[in-house]
């Protein structure tokens, strides 16, 4: 990854070896995070901008902490903007920020491909922190890190992703990352929320949760967008919970060694009953901690790659 990649735009561009390199690096930073003073000077003097065009708390905070624990300077440029909001274009914003002299841009945007577009127009390295329904590569990397910490090698493991697959960048990046690591991925959700061509992403598709839930090693529950209730996708939150929710009743029937993940924030009582949070299988908070280590690894590797580019000039 050091030699090849200038940006982290998605899991799609990564090889299995790239992914493992990030996870190994994240392992050492995970150790750093357990020290009394969890800071290393690796990126001292470097500047990273968090450019967030969508509201986000945990991802933004996680990237902020990752940068500061690497001793990089970190500034946030948050602007809630939808695809239709006119004003300064992404290109102009990016050029302005670049003119201020930054090494890296972490971009969260509601439109797929926004980081790919940005990467074509900037000298800084670009990290995709979520682009619409396309990819959320650091989430997939931190999920893989968390699963490997529990399960070791993921080859042959069965992972089930449940919920709104169609609009989920977490689902897309996870399908790509987990299959590259050898896992078998299935998705489950109402047909209105599973894209027609989903199987071509390399996963099995189920519409009935109980037909697959009790066979898998990992259950990745996705957040339901409550605004999709109604005519467009499913009738009521109650019906969603009945058919696709990880209820207390379903929890009791899961295999004991199963792992439950969720990218957060959770709609308790819709996609998961609150009992899940108390369950030893749930690793939701591990995911959050590991997220900082994984993002440190990504920034560290890309900043290094970027410096190498400059050295060659």
């Amino acid at each position: 990854m050091k030699a090849r990649l200038k940006h982290l735009l998605g899991i799609e561009q990564l090889t299995r070896e790239d992914i493992l390199a990030v996870l190994d690096q994240a392992g050492s930073f995970r150790e750093v995070l357990s020290r009394p003073i969890p800071v290393v000077p690796a990126l001292r003097g470097r500047t990273v901008v968090n450019l967030f065009f969508e509201p986000s708390t945990r991802t933004l905070t996680s990237f902020q902490l990752a940068a500061s624990r690497l001793s990089a300077q970190c500034v946030n440029f948050s602007r809630v903007a939808s695809s239709v909001t006119k004003g300064e274009s992404l290109l102009d914003t990016c050029r302005n920020i670049e003119a201020m002299g930054v090494d890296g841009i972490v971009l969260r945007h509601s439109l797929p491909g926004a980081p790919h577009f940005l990467a074509r127009h900037t000298r800084a390295f670009v990290v995709n922190a979520g682009d619409g329904a396309h990819e959320h590569p650091t989430q997939a990397l931190l999920d893989a890190f968390t699963l490997r910490a529990r399960l070791g090698d993921l080859a042959g493991r069965r992972v089930l992703i449940v919920g709104d697959i169609a609009h989920s960048r977490v689902a897309r990046s996870n399908i790509l990352a987990l299959t590259k690591l050898g896992a078998r991925v299935a998705v489950c959700g109402p047909p209105t929320l599973v894209p027609r061509f989903c199987e071509e992403l390399g996963c099995e598709v189920f519409y009935r949760l109980d037909r697959v839930l009790y066979e898998v090693d990992v259950v990745n529950m996705l957040r339901v967008q409550l605004e999709r209730i109604g005519a467009s996708s499913f009738p009521t939150a109650r019906e969603y919970r009945d058919h696709y929710g990880l209820t207390a009743a379903r929890l009791s029937r899961l295999r004991p060694e199963v792992i439950i993940t969720h990218p957060g924030p959770v709609n308790w009582g819709v996609e998961m009953d609150f009992e899940v949070s108390q369950h030893p299988s749930a690793v939701v908070l591990d995911q959050v901690t590991n997220g900082v280590a994984v993002r440190m690894a990504v920034l560290f590797i890309l900043a290094g790659a970027e410096r190498t580019d400059k050295d060659h000039e």
Binding site: E12, S83, S89, L90, L91, H109, L111, P112, G113, A114, H116, F117, H121, D131, G132, A133, H134, E135, H167, R169, R172, P195, R196, F197, C198, E200, L201
Partner: protein, 434 residues
Amino acid sequence: MSKAVNIERRESARLLLAGGTVVDPWQRRARRGDVFIEDGSVTGLGPRLSARGAEVLDCSGLHLAPGFVDMHCHLREPGREDEETIESGTCAALAGGFTRVCPMPNTEPAVDNAAQVEFQLRRAAAVGYARVHPIGACTRAREGRELAEIGAMVGAGAVAFSDDGASISNPMVMRRALEYCKAFDVPVIAHCELPELVEGLAHEGTMSTRLGLAAVPDTAEAAQAARDVLLAELTGSRLHIAHVSAAVTVDVIRWAKARGVMVTAETCPHYFALTDETLARFDAVFRVNPPLRTEHDRRAVIQGLADGTIDAIATDHAPHSRAEKETEWDSAPPGIIGLETAFSLGYELLVKSGVMSLVDLIRKLTVAPAQILGLPISPVEPGRPAELVVLNLDARWVCSLDSIRSRSRNTPFLGRKMTGRVTAAVVGRTRFSF
């Protein structure tokens, strides 16, 4: 930025085009012959004509054909003269071999009245490049509610009616538009798109799924086309389907033609040149409505052209400013420019690849659109007005920013190696060289 004069214009009272091959798309033949033009009319056609003091243009190794007709383009005047003007657009048209173009009425304001039609005709005559035959809006302000003054616009020179850019959603309004146009023997041109099925402007398929792009299924085009051909059957009216992009739409049109519905159709070069694989680049230069679809659709469009289901090739030339196109994929307006690349793409992908003959390609650029719209174009033969293009089929060129005469540069074909190009056009006494 104005570079509309990147084109040589000469007047000659007497002109001899010597040594070329003259293509007659009506008779479906091509024969060697000299063409003599006097006072803007063809006066001689045959082997080794005497120059009689005329200016001589050596056309050996070249083909001569009637000037092309683009029955679907956007010239952006009035309203978006930063993107294109009637002057720059008709200049680009000539450079692509189109001596006549039909601008769609989605200007700002829309061409929904006779004064607007007259304005476009006046501007086109004043700049003197390709001729313009305006298409008027079916409904006032293209809002799909009340019929526009179609009769008055026909009187002013409009040749067809369309709310292109949007479909006429209400089936009763579409029915009335089809019925009303019968009185003037003009076709309704349908932009087929069921708006309620449109979530975004990527073709709904493997690529859009992989990339998480909001998409539109081929069904949105085909279902609206099916509704419209049935309404054309109901009313006995003439319907023309614009920019066919999907295999299933080709099937709908084939079915309607077999039933005897008075329906014609066009497609555009990008639909037989490109597919949704281009989405992976997230480059808005590939964003167009209807969207680029799959290889299966691309082949079906070519098959539709070959078997006559699709009658005509139009460009849907849609200029957009650089600032509007250099943005996130979903934020950019749809549309690509096409006047200057249409013939070369047709020649490469339809003729050189063996799908159809040169004569049949030229029919789809001349006879077919002229018949649909009732335009008075004619073969290159004595007694007819001079309106022809000179083609060099062996020319190799690269589509580059320098070569573009349009005021906009939103072509997905930049850098593409092209075969065959238009080297000159003669309209009346005027010869244009490129």
